[in-house]
């Protein structure tokens, strides 16, 4: 997730100092059950934002002079608006299981069904865990988490259905020449395809 945009979004609401931002971000992302965001990352991102002129330090006033307070600049707000209006890109093409399965199909002595079975069992276990956990949450205090869990449930469901589909078509796939499949290019599509306005991808936390 884009910590950069999240911070920008918070600072567009009101001025925050560093630690406050960490707490607010936790609130949105579901606390420690969600992302584990480390404070260092926050401060590094704030620094980069300030350099780009998207946020500005606000003079300290009164009670806590030792804390640095930030607020979003006009450019920052503009950037935020652009982000909000652009869709979030997904990257579905990169899939480890897919590679594993394709290899299992071509490797002697490996049962692709077994590969599917293991993956399915694991996915179901995950789904079970997520579902159980989600249902143990209280509404409305857990609403934020609940929505994220719902997303997890649906993704897992989609993965399971995909597995189901692969399993029913496996015999057809096996009959196809495997080389073709191995030669297929993989990885992210070229950057140009995402459109010029999209924000640069931030690094993994």
């Amino acid at each position: 997730m884009s910590v950069r945009n999240a911070l920008l979004g918070l600072l567009a609401q009101r001025p925050f100092y560093g630690y406050e931002l960490l707490a607010a971000l936790d609130g949105i992302a579901g606390g420690h059950d969600g992302w584990a965001i480390n404070p260092g990352q926050i401060y590094a991102t704030l620094e980069r934002l300030e350099k780009s002129g998207l946020i500005a330090e606000q003079p300290a006033n009164g009670s806590a002079p030792e804390k640095t307070t930030y607020t979003a600049t006009v450019a920052g707000r503009q950037e935020l608006a652009e982000w909000l209006s652009a869709p979030v890109q997904t990257n579905l093409q990169r899939d480890e299981f897919y590679i594993k399965l394709m290899l299992a199909l071509s490797l002697e002595g490996t049962d692709p069904y077994r590969v599917i079975q293991i993956q399915r069992a694991s996915l179901y276990q995950e789904l079970h865990a997520v579902t159980t956990h989600r249902d143990s949450l209280d509404l409305p205090s857990g609403l934020a988490q609940k929505l994220l869990f719902d997303k997890a449930v649906m993704h897992l469901e989609a993965d399971l259905r995909w597995l189901e589909m692969i399993e029913t078509r496996l015999d057809d796939v096996k009959r196809q020449p495997v080389q073709q499949v191995e030669m297929r290019p993989r990885g992210r599509p070229p950057k140009s395809a995402r459109g010029a306005k999209s924000p640069p991808q931030t690094d993994k936390p």
Binding site: T132, D135, E164
Partner: protein, 247 residues
């Protein structure tokens, strides 16, 4: 003792010249308080399995034991009695009697067992209240939503205090929200009220509520998965997943 034990359970349907093997030497056991989902592609024999376990249909070969009772040994009347006292059924289309109220529908198994109406109704009301239907007691099925109707059906399945509940696509006719509600209720049935539930479904989302999934394919059990992760807590699995999708 296992609630369900099958030995080489086999069912072959003869339709004219072709014989279709719906179940092929199926062996499995279900322990008390387990919540088992049966999955598989359509035509894999999952409904047939449920029918045989529920004593609704007779196997071509093999045996089913319910709480130690060998179903193949029982005549129709004894089988009926066993169904009445030890098994509760939940169907995809609820199958409530349209002319009876929620309470009367829920009390049906007790009435069939010859209980006094007042007592039977009291017990039915108790179950319906647990399922948030206390204000819907006198409504006819057509005045209830799908989810409510299915909750009445679950109350009906539980009212005679059977040890085993068999559900055939219990959410097949419901939207996502109501499906989650019903699946959660079935889980509660095992965890809170100590019943054993076997549920046929094709919906992964619903199957994930179970403790264990039996995968059927071409009449055979191809996989038997326990959903509580054997190593590592589920909590870690959850957070890991969230991080992954959070990329």
């Amino acid at each position: 003792m296992s609630v369900i034990t099958t030995e080489n359970l086999t069912k072959i349907y003869n339709s004219g010249t072709t014989a279709v093997t719906a179940l092929d030497h199926v062996n499995f056991q279900v322990q008390p308080e387990e919540f088992v989902a049966v999955m598989g592609p359509s035509g894999c024999g999952k409904s047939t399995l449920l029918h045989l376990v529920g004593g609704l249909d007779h196997p071509t070969a093999g045996q089913v034991r319910i709480n130690g009772n060998l179903l193949t040994d029982l005549d129709d009347d004894s089988l009926t009695e066993l169904r009445r006292r030890q098994i509760g059924f939940i169907f995809q289309f609820y199958n409530l009697i349209p002319v009876l109220s929620a309470v009367e529908n829920a009390a049906l198994p007790l009435m069939l067992d010859g209980m006094k109406p007042i007592e039977a109704h009291d017990r039915a009301i108790e179950w319906l209240s647990r399922f948030d239907l206390a204000d819907r007691l006198q409504n006819r099925p057509d005045q209830l939503s799908g989810g409510q109707q299915q909750r009445v059906a679950i109350a009906r399945a539980l009212v005679a205090e059977p040890s085993l509940i068999l559900a055939d696509e219990p959410t097949g006719n419901l939207d996502t929200r109501a499906s989650d509600e019903i699946a959660g209720l079935l889980r509660q049935v095992t965890k809170e009220w100590g019943r054993t539930v076997v549920m046929v479904t094709h919906d992964p989302r619903i199957a994930a509520y179970a403790d264990r999934i039996l995968f059927l394919k071409d009449g055979r059990i191809v996989d038997d998965t326990l959903l509580e992760a054997k190593n590592g807590s589920s909590y870690e699995a959850v957070t890991a997943k969230l991080k992954e999708i959070g990329d």
